[in-house]
Symmetry: C2
Subunit: 397 residues, 2 copies
């Protein structure tokens, strides 16, 4: 089925389904949707997703909850299939009871959103929309409730995984309380899409008004990096080696820091002795979206994925190692094999064009052009990143 390798799949695309949007409208504190009167008496809704949202929040509208808008956006950019996930901050701010009920309802909503939507013109067995569901990951939730949500998602045929933030049940993702959840997700073969929301302590951004640039450009990737590093250090990937974790924004900054991380671990025997492998090995077990906006970034991410096998095991690096020979492995081969774990994404409906006359969204064009220009990727590699890899990972087709 060669034509399917030409399909474009958006693995990083968000929405607030109508039930979620209604809940946001009912809230008095962030996150919330507020209505404001604009000129001529018209009413505009604005989303306050982060604290101290600049400019009175960002305009929010049908592109967040309307399936037709999602499909229109997909058509405009030539996207065949989208894997839709609830946008941050998910259910993180709710009580255990609220989160439990809403997760259950929203997972059913998302299944319906996908299953009653259109199929691909040339592949009637392939829908244009699939989804990543939600777990009620909040403090006070019971493990039983989390496992029920995993089971629910695994039984909904159009949900291929689940999206989560970095808080876990309040103590982060290196919390052993989550072990039964990882075990269940691994067993069900669901993909976890790890996505940031909180950034880092905002004191880091200083006193200047830079809008949300620092929080989004730096804080988000820092948060993702910290969360997955804590998972590595706590041995999650040693205990659950078949866990399939997809990292938002090309893994934040984990690719650039993984050798430094390995060096710092080497110099702390108490930490090093806990792990089965050099830190860099785990990057070859992870999945990375291709939302990095540049071809050099994509090539580099594929390098660090591709080189991971070099770092299998956790040998005593103080003895002479064959590393310098292994390093000379063909770079092109690393890039090509690394690209198999990378996936096109848009981050829609965020990062919209500033002018309404724009035909295509610059953020989407940037990410597609970056794939096209990535050095060392064959045409087949590029087609994989655009869509083929996602279809294989999610077992679609």
């Amino acid at each position: 089925m060669a034509a399917t390798t030409r399909l474009i799949v958006d693995i990083h695309t968000h929405g607030y389904l109508p039930r979620y949007a209604s809940m946001l409208r009912s809230r008095a504190v962030v996150p919330k949707i507020v209505s404001t009167k604009v000129r001529d008496g018209a009413v505009e809704e604005r989303l306050h997703i982060l604290n101290d949202e600049p400019s009175g929040g960002r305009p929010v509208g049908r592109q967040y909850w309307d399936r037709d808008e999602k499909l229109k956006f997909m058509d405009k950019h030539g996207i065949d299939v989208s894997i839709v996930s609830t946008a941050n901050p998910w259910l993180d701010f709710l009580s255990a009871t609220q989160a439990e009920d809403l997760a259950n309802e929203l997972n059913d909503d998302l299944e319906q959103f996908c299953s009653t939507g259109p199929s691909l013109a040339n592949h009637q067995n392939v829908k244009r929309l699939y989804g990543f569901g939600l777990l009620p990951l909040v403090p006070e939730i019971t493990t039983q409730s989390l496992l029920q949500s995993v089971e629910q998602i695994s039984k909904l045929p159009h949900l291929k995984g689940l999206i989560m933030g970095t808080k876990g049940v309040g103590n982060g993702l290196d919390d052993e309380a989550l072990d039964p959840v990882w075990a269940a997700i691994e067993k069900a073969g669901l993909v976890i899409f790890l996505h940031p929301h909180y950034g880092v302590d905002s004191n880091a951004w200083g006193g200047k008004d830079n809008g949300h640039v620092l929080q989004l450009a730096l804080g988000f990737p820092f948060e993702t990096t910290t969360a997955v590093t804590r998972m590595i250090l706590s041995g999650v990937f040693d205990r659950y080696p078949r866990l399939r974790l997809l990292l938002a924004h090309s893994g934040g900054t984990l690719p650039q820091l993984s050798s430094r991380l390995a060096s710092c671990i080497d110099h702390d025997p108490a930490v090093a002795s806990r792990l089965n492998h050099d830190a860099r090995y785990y990057l070859g077990k992870l999945y990375f979206d291709a939302v990095a906006y540049g071809p050099e970034e994509l090539g580099f991410v594929s390098d660090v994925i591709g080189r991971a096998e070099r770092y299998e095991g956790n040998k005593n690096r103080e003895s002479s190692s064959p590393k310098s020979n292994i390093i000379k492995q063909a770079a092109a081969q690393l890039r090509s094999s690394g690209s198999k774990r990378m996936f096109f994404g848009t981050d829609h409906p965020f990062f919209p064009p500033l002018s309404s006359t724009e035909e295509k969204w610059q953020s989407v064009v940037d990410n597609l052009e970056a794939i096209d220009a990535a050095e060392g990727w064959s045409e087949e590699d590029k087609a994989g990143v655009r869509g083929g890899n996602a279809l294989a990972l999610l077992n679609i087709l």
Copy 2:
């Protein structure tokens, strides 16, 4: 003088000169050096450089303050020339008067440390030790005092620049109060070595005991990235385009985040309108040490430096741009030109070997091997990163 291109220069190597070590011994709070009795009644000194130092602090000894130890380390690893800088946290924790006095004394001490040391065997006009001085960058300091230190350093022939942290005079490096200081440093042609110490708020690291791994592996690079990004956003590099800023640890995570940063700026017109260039352009004006522990990391950093010219100006990216053509510029050419702004470093005396029998330090071997294995760098490029680039940047020879 072809032989000089074979010289190995360590641009990132620290010390606490005896005067500084004495001051640390006199302190009751971090940073401090404490003496503890070990077995057989011997006394061991330990450095507490960060809060909650694990294992009662790290052993500290002559390698921190003794010139012979620095030279012995250099000889062991084939390092010809070292550019020595005071280790963090510099003078950040002192009163204005203390910082002013100590900066003055330590700059003279460092000049003497270098000038009275040995010369290269084959180049009697080249010393084996040069230095980066200190400014009394603390709250309450006067601009006049900072300018006097810049002048002092610029008159000391073996000091080639200065090292600083990210606090400025208390409000970070995007503080306009520093403009006269940038102007004076730019005019004097001194290199600024920007180095982290504070990381990010430690709540990010969670409740598990991971030693200092997260703080060092992630927090340090996050801090550097945040500081230089804030400088970019506040227009420091537009106002002082000839400022020479060397970033520790290969720029932290700025290389991997610069395209995301550019995209976030694009979507915030208030910020975008303040800057003369796309964010990625500024990376071509910066300098990066090669302390990244992996060849793929080094290749990538050279990519983002080399591509910077592509992003000159700040054109309206919503109009169709010639970007996809420009992107296809020969990747090898980008890597080669980018490598000219990169410099070998060791981070000595930090990251020492765990066993005293080790001949060479693994952290140093890793960084030298990474240069050797960097894909797309010619032998000349590698020689430049090992030493030639530093000699040129610092006007040595």
